[in-house]
Symmetry: none
């Protein structure tokens, strides 16, 4: 039996969700198998049925479970979706082209989160975050400006690195498991600072890729990559998972 300890630090339904997710991730409950019913949760954890219902309902909305009235609650098969945007290390991409990667740090330190950054991190303004700004060059030409904030709780040693031999992306991928990703891609005109750092001609737009990463329901890092339009595009080619032409479920 796993721990039945429910603390007061977090809401009960959150602790229930994490407990169930842990047992799914450990494959104790494999895809397709039944999980605890609401009444079983009520008995085993001494919570009310509404609280058990909330935990199971939210996990269902998040895609982990499927519920069938009159039958039970089951672990869902994780969706296999091809990713347009994999996390790829700029140093590796440049090396794969047979070119030379170099980088320099424009800023590195501990900062107070602005209201906008705090909202991205789902925390309060003034929270302390690691911050780094780097320029990545391909054969000496700037191709990427990296403006990254990192949650100190998730990567406490982040500031101790000099990022000469390893990029922040590579370090984080190797050291922090990622549960969820959010990407936003935009076009924009660079600010004067960005224009200077990237050595962009006046009038040339930039592509920005903004990424947030979660681990254990906590934002680990938020990063904005800025690429001069003429020097970089985002590309992907893949086979959609459901390419057997079944009309399928989605009617969005």
């Amino acid at each position: 039996m796993t721990s039945l300890v429910l603390t007061q630090a977090q809401p009960l339904y959150v602790q229930l969700k994490e407990h169930i997710l842990a047992r799914i991730r450990s494959r104790e409950w494999a895809p397709g198998s039944r999980v605890l019913s609401e009444n079983e949760i009520v008995e085993q954890f001494s919570v009310s049925r509404m609280t058990a219902n909330r935990a199971l309902k939210e996990l269902t909305q998040e895609g982990f479970l499927a519920r069938v009235p009159g039958v039970g609650t089951f672990v869902k098969e994780p969706p296999q979706r091809a990713s347009l945007l994999e996390i790829r290390n700029i140093a590796d991409e440049i090396a794969a082209r047979g070119h030379f990667h170099s980088s320099e740090i424009a800023h590195k330190g501990l900062v107070d989160a602005s209201p906008a950054i705090a909202e991205e991190f789902e925390t309060n303004a003034g929270a302390r975050l690691f911050h780094i700004t780097m320029v990545h060059r391909e054969n000496g030409v700037p191709v990427q400006l990296e403006d990254r904030y990192v949650n100190p709780l998730a990567a406490p040693d982040f500031l101790n690195l000099d990022f000469a031999g390893i990029t922040p992306t590579a370090y984080l991928v190797a050291n922090v498991p990622v549960d969820e990703l959010e990407h936003t891609v935009e076009a924009m005109m660079p600010s004067p600072q960005e224009q200077a750092l990237l050595d962009v001609p006046a009038g040339e737009p930039c592509l920005t890729l903004h990424r947030r990463s979660w681990s254990r329901d906590r934002v680990v890092t938020a990063v904005r990559f800025t690429y001069p339009a003429s020097r970089h595009a985002l590309y992907s080619r893949y086979r959609p998972s459901g390419s057997n032409h079944s009309m399928e479920s989605d009617q969005t």
Copy 2:
């Protein structure tokens, strides 16, 4: 006062959600303004507070509302962005924001493939292809320029449609199975024609999403979507497939 009639055909919280959404879409409650508090809903609709809470909570999870403890519940600004990972119909995305979609055809006909287009279609220059150029508008404002070539062998009826009730994207998704996809995302300055069609101020860049679709090793369609930078972004959020860091029941 709007209708207070709550029937028994649907769950109460669903009717409450639709009622609130309708008042948001009618601009009675504009973005940023406050909606009814839970207690006000309890009074006006004679439901319990838990039911009112469920309606507001789910609308918040769906991104329509934002809740601030101790203050109230507010209408959120709908994000202007399209899905990156899936092929989604712009008409549906606009409708999901509660806005009005319209479109007009700038060109439709049979054309000879230029060398560049022929290469995209893995065929010879001079091949005959269907071509369509459309402007999609959200509440009257141009948000997407669609410049699409279609293989007549894959969709022979394509030119017979007027694309008033269905977009080319929706038609092709429904009628041609897709085996493989290629995406390229770039930032660029619009050409004078594009600038005019999209009604973009001078100096504003655009985001372009170029997509090729294959079916049975044959290019079905190649399309270039152009979005004014200030009016649209591309977005995705998902859980990576390999997110099983089975640390289990620890308490990081």
